[in-house]
Symmetry: C2
Subunit: 531 residues, 2 copies
């Protein structure tokens, strides 16, 4: 069963190893454990639904609790405290596009606000109902998860928008194909959600971002349906796919997604290399990214992340051996771990590996083979579960991410880390901060920063700490040529920062589009565009 | 000096070889030559300008003649007959974004329509002034052609929008870089024009389309400036670059273009392979395109194009030897020529070549080495000059293009060719039609069809023939899952067909955007969106 107040399935438990707890305690002090609310106590708070009955809508309290919050740290604190604020008045489970259209017509008639819901994994406040004089309907797409059609010549698959990562991959793999889209949220997040929030997966270097994978489909809007046909490319005016991508439920509800799929590759391997220092590592990954070596993933941890990962890995003896081996070869304190993958046919993979190794070696890289790469691949979706382990040890963890051009990566990374590290200094609290680059482009890179801090004595105080840190980092990002999000989207949390990058006229253009598709502002108001 | 009534520089002459003339005569009959108008006779027709004097605007007749028409066949006929219809009232030559803004403010004040003008190479009626009660100002960007900034870490170059292909490449190559964008119009077309019309270059397989190369920049609109910052990628809402791409001068005037550039490759080679039949060739190119072999270009001529190219090549003895060689190896009547390129480091190129050859051989491909590939590369920008040679031999030539998914390529190609081939049957005229696939994607391919027909006894009759053929082919395209344009844009000629692919709601969204940026409909009215 899925956790009602945290990440993933209840049977998956990722604990903080004892060694990891000591590592954090030495850096930011002993943990501070806060008491959790129980599900029955939250259910008891749910007010009566304001919706008139509808055959496709469920209004029982537990459904409404389970669709009230996403997975941001603010959501986490609300769920753990049992202080939800607002609940949807009901959850609809349409099974067809026609039922979505029917629900939209009903919502217009009943003066109801509508929130489209995929996997509920937003970390930016995309799906949280707000207190409102109008009833709020959450429209879950979980019953629309089937592979509807597969064009094996064109490599186009049509899916219901509610298919989550495992549903997408299992249906494709049964036929010998893959989408190749693996965000960290893959176990729960959905195709429609990926499109609506412009998601990026860990192997985007090979498969592309969702922008490249999304070939067309349908959007149901209050102004009627928008059908986007598939073309391999077109110069016929502005691309309407790009209006749907990142629309975050503001323009309409995605009812079908056509994606570009790939045949399963002959071979896939992941390798780890340690670079002696951050400056060398940064230059190495940029050079490798720009050399067009056909790799399928590239991820570089900075020195603190490398140290933290090795400390939290939980095998102190093996890690000590590894560190000894690396030190002998020149990668000592300050070393940075780089993971890369090759996916393709054997001959191409062999050449890619050879070229990557040679290039990395020229920057002092120490190659360690496939063991750590394999570990990365096995644990690639486990990190979100660690929030529970950390929380139970008395630590709060959050992540944030951006992207910027190469000439600004080091500057922006340093400023983000500094803003977080010193963010709670007034309270005398330390924050443990580390970063990796996980999506590498010719032009620049994404930056993914993790920060760990201690909860205050109360939930309210902890939320205040998070708000302070989130605001500091967000301001640092947009004031230093970063985008407010590279892969998580805007939602409600990032909406105040969006105008810095879109500009006044750009925001007005988005608002004009929203009004065009949703003149009454019924769909997810406050998300993406600050109203 | 640039031709005033045709393509390119006057000193470049590409004649139809005698053998080629005989080839066409045998297929569609002897040529029909029409008399050309002279430049002085056209200049004499230009009416007085309706513009009040402005320091940045030239109103002399020859400038106005030279900016009145693009390069569609309809434009060609108008220019050759000296029947221009309408001329702009003046041509402005701004040198800065501030001057563009000043000109827009002036146009609003004076109630003047504005047509942005790059290289004037549109083949879809993007830049033709229409008869109008309001004066029309053509705004040429030719004085804004400089490389303004080069970020060598991020591989981002900032250019004035008026830089044409040679200006872009020469300024970049001097520093060791290339944009890698080579449309057939490269000698004259401009960066701003490529962005505004979503252009694609011959090596898009390596470098991407202009959508992938355009990183950001500035658009001057009647509602104010839109500045788009550069990010390697972003999930922060709909991408405003995609609103500028394909906007065809309807939303604003592009005043700066930032593009993603590449280091010059170590090695580049082009090869030709002959496949024994179209079905084998089509399967081969699809398989190769989907195998992700890192090639830089792929182009497949169908059997009639292959035959026509060999006939028009002008070296009958050499061609006869080639045909003998091919026949011995199984590529006889019905054979199709496939050209491919490798661009990159030597080791990668060697592997790509090996993999491509192996794959093509499995479809019966006969490899002929680099000679024909080299010829292709040398002559890659010469095809547009051949219209002059054909015209003087008494033949009219035009091309059209689309793209569709692989499962529909053969169907669409056959239908387009059939619609053109039989298009003048009622008049007892033959049309010589052939096609190549030149931009190959995992999902599908572009189709580029050339058709040659005889002018009627008059210009008016010839224009009617063209209109009939263009309409038949355009209807065939949009009614059979093709996009109305893969690389030439919409302009005025394709605007009536656009609603089929964008849908009613999509067209209304584009109209809403146009109204947002240009409430008075002053910019290029009638282009892109039928008013």
């Amino acid at each position: 069963m899925r956790r009602w107040n945290g990440w993933g399935d209840e049977t998956t438990v990722v604990e903080l190893p004892a060694h990891g707890g000591a590592f954090l305690a030495a850096r930011i002090g002993p943990g501070q454990v806060l008491a959790d609310a129980s599900l029955p106590s939250v259910i008891a708070q749910v007010p009566a639904s304001r919706l008139v009955p509808h055959a496709l809508i469920v209004t029982d309290a537990e459904h409404r609790v389970r669709h009230a919050r996403g997975q941001s740290l603010a959501d986490w604190l609300a769920m753990r405290e049992g202080n939800f604020g607002a609940f949807p008045d009901g959850v609809a489970y349409p099974e067809t596009a026609a039922q979505i259209r029917q629900l939209l017509a009903w919502a217009a008639e009943q003066d109801v606000l509508v929130i489209p819901y995929g996997g509920g994994t937003s970390v930016a406040g995309h799906i949280n109902p707000q207190a409102s004089s109008k009833p709020v309907l959450t429209l879950s797409l979980e019953r629309m998860s089937r592979l509807l059609e597969l064009d094996e010549q064109s490599l186009i698959a049509s899916f219901g928008p509610g298919a989550n990562g495992p549903q997408v991959e299992s249906q494709l793999r049964a036929r010998g194909y893959t989408l190749g889209h693996f965000p960290q949220s893959w176990e729960l997040s959905t195709l429609g959600g990926w499109v609506a929030s412009r998601s990026s997966g860990q192997q985007s270097l090979r498969y592309g971002r969702i922008e490249q994978l999304f070939a067309g489909g349908s959007l149901e809007t209050f102004a009627g349906p928008l059908q986007i046909p598939t073309f391999p490319a077109s110069s016929a005016g502005p691309d309407l796919r790009e209006v749907v991508l990142g629309s975050e439920g503001r323009f309409g509800i995605i009812s079908e997604v056509k994606v570009r799929v790939s045949k399963l590759a002959e071979q896939e391997k992941f390798y780890a290399v340690f670079l002696p220092s951050w400056p060398q590592a940064l230059q190495a990954i940029r050079t490798l990214g720009q050399a067009r070596v056909p790799l399928s993933m590239l991820r570089l941890s900075n020195a603190i992340e490398t140290e933290t990962q090795l400390a939290l890995a939980g095998h102190p003896e093996q890690i000590a051996l590894l560190e000894k081996y690396l030190a002998l070869r020149g990668a000592r304190i300050g070393k940075c771990m780089l993971t890369f993958g090759v996916t393709g046919n054997r001959a191409q993979n062999a050449l890619s590996l050879k070229q990557a190794k040679k290039l990395l070696k020229s920057f002092g890289g120490v190659f360690t083979g496939t063991l750590l790469g394999k570990k990365w691949a096995e644990g690639r979706f486990r990190f979100p579960y660690l929030r529970e382990g950390l929380w139970q040890a008395g630590y709060a963890v959050d992540t944030l991410e951006t992207a910027t051009d190469w000439s600004n990566v080091d500057n922006l990374l340093n400023k983000i880390e500094a803003s977080l590290r010193g963010g709670l200094a007034a309270e005398g609290e330390q924050v443990h901060v580390f970063t990796h680059l996980s999506h590498v482009y010719g032009e620049g890179s994404s930056l993914y920063t993790t920060y760990v801090f201690r909860p205050a004595g109360s939930y309210a105080g902890t939320l205040e700490r998070w708000k302070k840190l989130k605001q500091l980092a967000s301001e640092t990002i947009v004031n230093n040529r970063g985008t407010i999000s590279h892969q998580h989207g805007v939602g409600r949390d990032h909406a105040p920062y969006l105008p810095v990058e879109k500009g006044e006229l750009g925001m007005a253009a988005l608002r004009a589009l929203a009004r065009h598709f949703d003149p009454e502002v019924r769909l997810n108001p406050g998300v993406l565009i600050h109203e």
